[in-house]
Symmetry: none
Subunit: 170 residues, 2 copies
DNA sequence: TGACTACCCATGAAATACCATGATAATCCA
DNA sequence: TGGATTATCATGGTATTTCATGGGTAGTCA
């Protein structure tokens, strides 16, 4: 099963192309064609993406509902109708639809966040806010983790100034 | 097995022809002749469509009911008797019967909505209304489902800040 | 005959495949 | 270990193909 790990920020060029991080790409091509399934999240202004394993999960969920029921159709719309299979070219770039960019408020850069079986696609600013919020929540929950979070959070910006994408905080 | 994903809005020309979205067409031709099964929905003013896998699902449903029962005959009428196999031409266009267009209140444009094993055909305005409703309802439905959904999508607010007005294919 | 159908071709725009480059990271060898 | 070499990768630009749409024309069935 494909496994996505790490955070990568890449640039969108004039034609709307973005490089899928090489590690994610490798995980995808190992199990399927050169394509990735992307859909707007139901939990916020970001995108969810993944390969066959992710799609299988979606199908499993939908199969819990009766065929031809309105309930199933509505959830199908959210998880499938609103999604899209995006192929990436020989250089590993895909083009996100404009509607997706607007949905996630993405402008010139996108943040790929690995989550094992899937990955999320964020506007860098929104992701940074999400990270900070996660930090606050985690601090409340567990003061023990604060030190670890501090050392991680203080290790530099998520968005690189230029050049190639930065890998997971090293 | 054919897999339909995404939303595409195409135009009906003066002769009543509509292009079946290329991706859907590819999924269909991969497993069958150049044709698609279409039938009026039992849940609203739209059409259901699909290929062999879709037909097989209909048969399965009917086979769960006793042969020669009134129940089965009625459902057969709805799912099979009202349906039609539509061929598409070399350019991938089909002609929807007038009765279907009236049923779905389709005028000059149609919306194709992929749902894995089938796809739906809507009048764009009606689809937009259905989509808004799905935003509101889908989270409730997904909440009722077993942990599978939450473990995949996480939990949190459902209403996204962004939105889409049309399909990603323009 | 008249509407409808099945092919045929044309076209502009959009999507996609192909090629080039610079910069960084990894590797190799002394 | 350190410097040089190679490979990887994101990114920019160009060429080619796909695709939706419009129109024409000959066959077909009532």
């Amino acid at each position: 099963m494909e496994s996505f790990r790490g955070t990568f920020t890449n640039k969108i060029d004039a034609k709307g192309r973005v490089s899928v991080p090489a590690k994610f790409r490798a995980a995808l091509t190992a199990v399927s064609q050169n394509q990735v399934t992307v859909l707007p999240s139901m939990n916020g202004a970001f995108l969810e993406a993944g390969g066959p394993a992710f799609n299988a999960q979606i199908e499993d969920i939908l199969n819990q509902l009766p065929p031809f029921s309105t309930e199933r159709d509505q959830l199908s719309l959210m998880l499938v109708g609103n999604g899209i299979d995006l192929p990436f070219d020989g250089d590993g770039r895909m083009v996100l639809p404009k509607s997706f960019l607007e949905f996630a408020q993405i402008e010139d850069k996108v943040c790929f966040v690995g989550m094992i079986n899937k990955f999320q696609i964020w506007a860098p600013a929104a992701y940074e806010a999400f990270r900070l919020d996660a930090f606050k929540q985690a601090s409340k929950t567990s003061g023990v983790l604060a030190g670890a979070f501090n050392s991680m959070m203080g290790r530099g910006p998520v968005v690189p100034s230029g050049g190639r994408s930065d890998g997971e905080a090293t």
